[in-house]
Amino acid sequence: MNKWAQKLCTICGPVGFVLFGIGLFPLAKFLPPPSPAATAEQISDIYSSNQLGIQLGAIVIMMSASLFIPFFSMITVIIKRIEGQDAPLAVTQIASAIMVVVFFFTGAMLFAVTAFRPERSAELTQLMNDFAWIMFISPGAPAFVQTAGIGLAILSDKQALPILPRWFGYLSLWIAILFVPAALAVIFKTGPFAWNGLLSFWVPAILVGGWSMMMAILMFQSINKRAVG
């Protein structure tokens, strides 16, 4: 029985989210995100005036993305417990989680690439910044698949004492729907669906934080309740 490993993996989720916040704000100063409507010169200024902060922020966000790997793996284990031998939703969870983590990680890596030589021409910096933010924000679809899969798995639990509470399954389905609008960040430069907008950025970012904290607490309870074996 490896309860300590299960708890360690679980704790990686909230810790990863806190690191994400630290990288995004005090370091990169990307709260609120640079506007997609900003001119090339404005974007270039942002990167040259806070070069080191953005580079350190990118490193911390890449670490936070990596910490989501054990957290999502633990969620996979829990779904496997619910599903039993043939576990399509558990596999969906780990596969979609890899996709989410990769885009998250690569988005941060592109911040670092953009900040690597801010003295280049402003148009190129703007292009790289567009690339970074669209990579970072727009993968709403894999995030939807991942979270909806978790929700459906919880709701499919037929045991008298479900491993995770049913209300959390419904909550996960709701969060899943909220990831979808982020896919529209590829179109808009202003308004709620732009990459710095209410529905593409703020709502998913805040909710994913709350959701991962809640998920971690429920996973802890589930691990503690489980008898040895």
């Binding site: 049913r166 209300w167 419904y170 389905l173 179109i187 709620p192």
Partner: protein
């Protein structure tokens, strides 16, 4: 929306019987608690979206009012009636199922599903009419909101139709079990939410002046 009839027999007020939890059935919430959580969350987010729409509308009322002229009110009104009728049918179906009449319950849900499909057909026509007249979601801010909000609602319609089909499947058995009843109630609650959201969307886009 419509209040559903309490499925429990209301205890007769009788002075002889001590009022304990054992012999007084408490009224319960239709469907699972989780469904209501989902519905409340969804309403919260939609309130946020509607608020955003009204905020941006306040910034440039003229553009919004001009753009509104291009909307075809007949589509909006027809879809409003379609959803109202389908919602009413679902209410009736829940009542039928509670009293053990599964045959009429099934039929009513089937009609509700057909109406939902009509909604989707009309909405698709309406969108294609807009697109063929050169209006898309990047035309201006009003149409960005129009396509986005009706699009998100469209997604809800698809989920709702899936849920209704699932409820219909649950009513197929010879004896609909307690869990089926709860599923049906949950699905009904969600369908009313989709209906309610459409009423607000209709008011915001087609009616507001």
């Amino acid at each position: 929306m419509t209040t559903t009839v309490n499925k429990n027999v209301v205890a007769q007020p009788n002075a002889d019987i001590p009022r304990t939890s054992k012999n007084l059935e408490k009224p319960t919430l239709p469907g699972e608690v989780g469904v209501w959580l989902f519905v409340c969350g969804d309403l919260m987010v939609f309130s946020l979206i509607f608020g955003t729409f009204l905020y941006y509308r306040g910034l440039s009322v003229d553009v919004y009012q001009q753009s509104q002229q291009a909307l075809n009110g007949a589509f909006g009104l027809a879809n409003t009636f379609i959803l109202l009728i389908s919602s009413w049918l679902v209410v009736r179906a829940v009542g039928d199922a509670r009293s053990g009449h599964f045959e009429p319950a099934r039929r009513r849900i089937e009609i509700a599903i057909v109406l939902g499909l009509c909604f989707i057909g009309l909405k698709t026509l309406e969108w294609s009419e807009k697109v063929s007249s050169g209006i898309t979601l990047v035309t201006n801010e009003f149409f960005m909101f129009y396509f986005m909000i009706t699009g998100i609602h469209f997604g809800h319609m698809l989920v709702g139709l899936g849920a209704l089909s699932y409820a219909l499947h649950g009513l197929r058995g010879p004896v609909a079990q307690r869990s089926h009843m709860e599923n049906l109630e949950g699905v009904a609650v969600f369908w009313h939410l989709v209906d309610l959201l459409w009423m607000i969307i209709f008011a915001l886009f087609y009616v507001i002046r």
